[in-house]
Every structure is written in C-alpha cells, then in structure tokens.
C-alpha cells in the first residue's frame, strides 16, 4: 500500500469520517472526560493505543480463526473478547509502569472496553474489507481523530465554565449544544471523497 493511499486514508479517518463528529461513536468518554485538557489528552492517548492494538488483534482473529472456520457471524462476540482482554492487559501495564496515568484515568480504562468506538472501528475494518496494514492505519487514524475531537472539546469546555448561560443550560446541556455546533462545522468535510 503506497504512502499516498495511506495518507488519504488517514485524512479521511481523522476529518471526513471523524469517529465522533461524523459517526457519533465513543461519545461517552468524549463528554465524560473532557473537563480538563490534561485528562482529555491522557484519555485520547489510551484510546489510541487500545484501538490500534485491537484493530490489529481483531483483524488477526477474524482472518486467521473465524474465516477459516466459517464463523464470521460470531465476530461481534469474538471482538468483544479480544478487546476486553487487551484493555485489561493495558490496565495492568499502566498500573505497574505509569502509575500517574493510571491514577488520573482511573475508572475510565474499563469504560474504554465497552466503548462502542473500539468495537465500531473493528467492525468497520471488517465491513470495508481492509488489509492488515490498512486496518491498523485506519484504526490508528480514527483514534487520532478521537483525540483531536476530545482535545478541542476540552478547550471549549474550559471556556464554557466561565460563561453564564441561562440556568437550565448550565453544565451538560450547553456542552451538548456546543458539541452539536462543532459537528455542524465538521459537516463541511462531508462532500469530500478521497477515493
């Protein structure tokens, strides 16, 4: 797969088909962890790692085990198994070697397990029939798109803290409205087709 194709795929995954702003997957951590840019960054990095690793692992399991055995219809179950185990592994690794990050992410790591973004990317890889390298690149770029989205939103939310919208809107409602406005902005990418 040539470089040009890879770059176009990355651009598509990050901007045109942004996992949060276009596909609306993974909005739970997007709204839950975006209070401070620092924690948002930590969350973004761990999601990136999880999605990349699970893209690779799920592709391998799908093409090496499920397809030869004719069990493609069980991909959802198999993928959840793989994703849950890899997140557990990552959690153990972080707890031992990067305890500071483990402390700040705390409960969010298990949340990534059931995060539809991770499963969604894995299933999309299958649906689009990507090769191994393409799957990993697509997974990685989708996660980078997620990280970009959560960082942007963390910045917006920091500013929102000092704004004074009407009382019923304070907190989550105005955050959701702001997210919707950002989605509107990203719709500007929707017509672009990069082959």
């Amino acid at each position: 797969m040539e470089l040009r194709e890879m770059l176009l795929l990355m651009f598509t995954a990050i901007f045109i088909e942004n996992i949060i702003f276009s596909k609306f997957l993974g909005t739970c951590p997007f709204l839950g962890v975006s209070e401070k840019p620092v924690t948002a960054l930590g969350m973004g990095l761990s999601v990136t790692f999880v999605i990349t690793v699970s893209s690779a692992a799920t592709w391998l399991v799908y093409h090496l085990i499920l397809v030869p055995l004719g069990l493609e219809f069980l991909k959802t179950v198999a993928f959840i198994l793989i994703i849950a185990s890899s997140v557990q592994l990552i959690e153990m690794f972080l707890k031992r070697y990067v305890p500071a990050l483990y402390q700040s992410l705390g409960i969010y790591l298990p949340l990534i397990t059931t995060n539809c973004a991770v499963l969604g990317v894995a299933l999309l890889n299958v649906q689009n029939e990507y090769s191994f390298i393409k799957s990993v690149v697509y997974g990685f770029s989708s996660a980078v798109g997620f990280m970009m989205a959560i960082l942007i939103f963390a910045g917006v939310r920091e500013r929102l803290k000092f704004a004074r919208p009407p009382k019923p809107f304070r907190g989550l409602p105005i955050a959701l409205i702001s997210a919707g406005l950002i989605v509107l902005a990203f719709m500007g990418f929707s017509g672009i087709n990069l082959g």
Binding site: L71, L74, L81, Q88, M92, R96, P99, F162, R164
Partner: protein
C-alpha cells in the same frame, strides 16, 4: 449442528487462551500495594485539599508510609487523627494521648474590606468571571491595587465551602475554614492571610499606597496614619508600606488600636464590629451572580 459445536469449541479454546494469558500477565505485572499507606489514607480527612503540598490524601499517605513526609504534615486533621498516624509510623507511643501538641488553630482572613459601595472602580468589567483573568486588565476592576477583585478564584479553590464573595469582597466563614491555605495560594492579589483563629483584632486592608491616595478610591482603606502604632502597648501593630499589620505573637488583644483608628478599618471579634461586612455569617447571602457590580463613578 457441526457449526454450533465448532463455534462452541473454538470459543472455549479462545476464552481459555485469553484467560491464561491474562492470569500470567497479572502475576508478572503485579503491583504490591502498601497496606500502611492504605491505612493512613483511611485516617486522613479525604478532602484532597492540597494544603499539605501533596496532590491529595492518598499521595500524602504514600509519602508518610515511605518516610518522605512527617506524620503530622496534614494541616487540617484533628489532633486525634495525627496521633493515630503517629502511632502507625512509630513516632508516637501507642498509649500517649497527648502526643504532639497541635499548633493553635488558624483561619484564613481576607485583608480587604472594600465592598462595592465603599470602593471606586477603574472600569466596568465584563469578561471571564475569574480573578486571574481580571488581573490581566490593569489589575482588576477596583482602583486600589491591593483590593480584592471579587470574582471568586478563592471560592473555586476552597474545598470546604468556607469562603464566599459578599458584596464584591471575599469573606471567610471562620467555622468552616480549615486553614489549608489554598485560597491564599489562589488569590492573585495575595491578600488572604492565615491568622490565629482566636485573633481578637485584625486589619482589613493591605493598601500599599500613601494615605492621600488611598482616600481617593476607598472609603475605609488604611491610610497608614500610625495612630494604632502609637497606642499599642506591646508593639504588635506596625505600619509598613503605608498600611498597618499585626504581629500576632505580640498582640495581647487590648483593643486600643481599634479605638483610635480614624478609618475604622480594624475589625474585631470582641466588639463584634463588622459592618459593611466582609465576614461571612449565616445571615448574609453570598453574591449569587458574581458579576462585577457597583458603578464606575461613585
């Protein structure tokens, strides 16, 4: 039928492999938790105020367990709690009820009495409701360079709900205050001080401008006339930088300073003098909407 069997078997095998892998790595990557640190964490108040200088109660407990911090580092815990921590670390004998005598109780005091009505403003501020933000615009809305900006950075910093903005000035609730010092650290004007809880008199101003100047922008600010300094029998009150301040190690609480102050800027616990108040109490409502009030020309 075969398909179902095949699916069952392959998934059992896959689950088994993953399970074994996880338990193996679980043993390899095990982190031994420190039971001592856990015990200490339970004893500490758990407010995570940061007054000890560590990032939270768990962090302090860890440091105490490792011997990096002294057992009585927490400024907010009661004497009994400190004693119990001391017993764990071995600094205090188990039966010793008194142990280390706790230093006297402190409270935070905002050294400004400039409410909206009493002060002149440079401009009308309409911006982010944050003292640090207002500070960037020529030091905040009030003309006095040492005046409380009144937008609540200290309120944000306090974990004990002990400080509020009333009439445009921050005021401390003495009962709730645990003297952790986070509000003092947060104040960009640096006008919050920790003074003894029992302090009978305190000066509600830190204006470093000459008296004539101070009069032009504040109705009550200290003008540094030194009347208090002259009558103080113990030499506790001194005028430096054109405002008075009290050294509480020398103050005997006689109240002579309060009697002679022409600006009435010396507040007191004894005479309960606190009009136009800057001291939070049950009957006063904090500013609900911390917009900058008052008008520019007074």
């Amino acid at each position: 039928m075969e398909k179902i069997l095949l699916a069952l078997v392959s998934f059992v095998i896959m689950g088994g492999v993953l399970g074994i892998m996880l338990s193996v790595f679980g043993k390899l990557l095990e982190v031994k938790s420190d039971p001592v640190a856990e015990k200490i964490t339970e004893l500490l108040p758990g407010a995570n105020c940061g007054g000890c200088g560590y990032s939270g109660c768990a962090a302090l407990a860890d440091a105490i367990a490792k011997g990096k911090a002294k057992y009585d580092t927490c400024p907010v815990s009661s004497k009994e709690v400190i004693n119990e921590i001391g017993v764990i670390t071995g600094d205090v004998a188990p039966g010793d009820k008194n142990g280390q005598e706790r230093p006297m109780r402190f409270r935070a005091q905002v050294m400004c009495s400039g409410t909206h009505e009493l002060t002149k403003k440079k401009y009308l501020y309409e911006g982010l409701k944050d003292c640090n933000a207002a500070m960037r615009l020529a030091g905040g809305q009030k003309m006095c360079p040492n005046g409380c900006i009144g937008l609540g950075s200290c309120v944000q910093a306090c974990k004990f709900d002990a400080i509020h903005i009333i009439n445009g000035v921050a005021a401390v609730d003495y009962e709730k205050c645990h003297a952790c010092g986070m509000c003092a650290a947060a104040c960009p004007k640096q006008i919050i001080r920790l003074i003894p809880y029992d302090a009978k008199y305190w000066i509600g101003c830190m204006s470093a401008d000459k008296g004539a100047m101070t009069r032009t922008y504040c109705d009550v600010g200290c003008i540094g006339c030194k009347q208090c300094e002259k009558v103080c029998p113990s030499g506790a009150i001194k005028v430096e930088n054109f405002h008075a301040s009290i050294d509480y190690s020398l103050c005997i609480g006689c109240g002579e300073c309060e009697k002679v102050c022409p600006r009435k800027i010396i507040w007191s616990n004894v005479s309960q003098r606190s009009e136009g108040i800057v001291r939070a109490s049950a009957d006063l409502t904090p500013d609900k909407d911390m917009t900058s009030g008052g008008n520019v020309e007074k």
